[in-house]
């Protein structure tokens, strides 16, 4: 079976300066966590995977289709949902409009998809006409995830889904991520600094350290020593 995501020798960065150095990994039908401290290149990796940042070298493929340097809108149409860490909603649009933007691609009825999003995030139902820019951090993260789910993605890219969230939301969010994977059969790539939580739901893990990726390994094989080395703590 072709892997959902395969990344080969991917280097990426801003201008001509590489932040990410020749990263390799493949993601099957699983939750794949990319761990690392700040500055390790996690956000750069996901922005490149989403097609919003051109790769300096290497390749990216989704389900065997090469998408290296394909426009982000086309990757999205191939089934890639992306939830950035910051600016993950359209602040000027209402919650409903945010979700609607996500539901513009694909053929399944809009209402059906909306109902499924409300099943996952029931809190959103009562806030449909609020301006997304006025939501709290946790709510706006739900809107962001909901928008991506409206796309009916086969691969979901989550950039630090819990950064800046209160501990209560943090637990909830990791549960939701696991639930989305389980019920929708979506392959998930998520980046996370908080290793313990991520290890709890991830199948496999890669540790990024100053732009260099470790060999991907099973989540239960990760030791604290390994992490501390990767995080330089």
């Amino acid at each position: 079976m072709t892997p959902a995501v395969s990344v080969n020798g991917l280097s990426s960065g801003y201008g001509s300066v590489a932040v990410l150095h020749e990263v390799d990994f493949t993601v099957g039908h699983e939750i794949f966590a990319v761990l690392g401290a700040n500055g390790a290149g996690k956000t750069t990796l996901l922005t490149t995977l989403a097609g919003l940042l051109p790769a300096l070298s290497g390749s990216i493929a989704y389900h065997g289709t090469d998408v290296t340097n394909l426009a982000a809108s086309e990757s999205a149409r191939l089934g890639v949902g992306y939830v950035p860490q910051e600016a993950a909603v359209f602040p000027d649009l209402s919650v409903l409009e945010n979700l609607t933007v996500g539901g513009m691609i694909g053929t399944r009825p809009h209402e059906e998809r909306l109902d499924e999003v409300f099943e996952t995030f029931p809190d959103l139902r009562g806030k449909l006409h609020l301006r997304a820019g006025n939501l709290s951090g946790g709510e706006s993260r739900m809107v962001a995830c909901g928008r991506a789910l409206m796309q009916d993605p086969t691969v979901l890219l989550l950039d630090e889904p819990t950064a800046g969230l209160s501990p209560l939301y943090l637990e909830l969010f990791f549960e939701k991520v696991a639930e989305i994977h389980r019920t929708r059969g979506v392959s998930i790539v998520l980046t996370e600094q908080n290793a313990t939580q991520a290890l709890g739901i991830a199948d496999r893990v890669m540790v990024l350290s100053l732009g260099v990726g470790s060999e991907p390994m099973a989540a239960d094989a990760v030791t604290t020593e390994l992490l501390r080395e990767g995080y330089q703590i």
Binding site: V17, A37, G164, N194, Q197, Y231, I233
Partner: protein, 258 residues
């Protein structure tokens, strides 16, 4: 200048900053500069870079004060001072993103940093040589130190631009130097040179504050580390102590890792 009391210091008091409702920095009281080199450490969103920008007043404060105190001189309220006047007071910051002046050569950049305002007036005609004569020695020293072979060319690589940024900061002879990721993207050799330069500067009385993603640089270089999380200063201690602190480890790796 000897004794820790006589170092230039920056006092941050009740400083807060929010971006669209989210509190990014909220520091009750923080003294920077009581040891030669201090590190600012913290997970994503801790507010390190924002705090540095607030000190430089390149973004407005929501509230609070930042004061500069230098031995033998009057205190200055930095939070009421323009960014362009900071360098004159001896408060200098390196930039996080790689940035340079397009068109200007390496030597230009160095000369720009050292030129006094009176030589920069429209009709100060014969000043270029004068400026060079006054500052040639120090410019030569730092350019040679970082291995710039051809100062008459424009810096091309990201690494050269990064080093040039540091050279400009050093040439300003800062009292307080804020370094935001000074070694990101540099070779090992250059990283060592930057570290050595920082040590040398600190030993001559400059207070250095450093943010760096390569934590080995922090552990190696700093006399004290300030640990921030979610905009607040949580700990301030020796590097080894910080490194072993369960709160620090947990904030990076998650609960239960320590």
């Amino acid at each position: 200048m000897t004794g820790e009391d006589l170092r230039p210091q920056i006092l941050v008091r009740d400083v807060s900053k929010s971006f669209s409702g989210r509190v990014v920095v909220d520091v009750d009281e923080l003294v920077l500069g009581d040891v030669p080199v201090e590190g600012l450490l913290g997970p994503n969103g801790a507010g390190k870079t924002t705090l540095m920008r607030l000190i430089m007043h390149s973004i407005p404060l929501d509230g609070g004060t930042v004061t500069l105190s230098r031995p033998g001189q009057r205190d200055v309220l930095l939070s009421a001072t323009r960014t362009s006047q900071m360098a004159g007071l001896g408060v200098v910051k390196s930039t996080q993103v790689i940035t340079d002046f397009e068109h200007l050569t390496i030597l230009d950049s160095a000369l720009l940093a050292v030129t006094e305002a009176r030589y920069e007036r429209p009709f100060a005609a014969a000043a270029d040589r004068t400026v060079r004569k006054r500052h040639e020695e120090e410019i030569r020293h730092w350019l040679d130190y970082f291995g710039f072979d051809d100062p008459l060319a424009v810096a091309l690589s990201g690494g050269d631009k990064k080093l040039l940024d540091i050279v400009r900061c050093l040439l300003l002879e800062p009292a307080v130097l804020l370094l935001d990721e000074p070694t990101a993207g540099l070779s090992e050799d250059h990283t060592e040179r930057v570290k050595a330069a920082v040590r040398q500067l600190a030993s001559r009385g400059t207070s250095v504050v450093i943010v760096e993603h390569d934590l080995d640089v922090i552990w190696d270089l700093c006399d004290e580390v300030i640990f921030m999380a979610e905009g607040k200063v949580l700990l301030k201690d020796k590097p080894a102590t910080i490194r072993a602190n369960p709160t620090v480890v947990e904030s990076y790796l998650g609960a239960g890792s320590a």
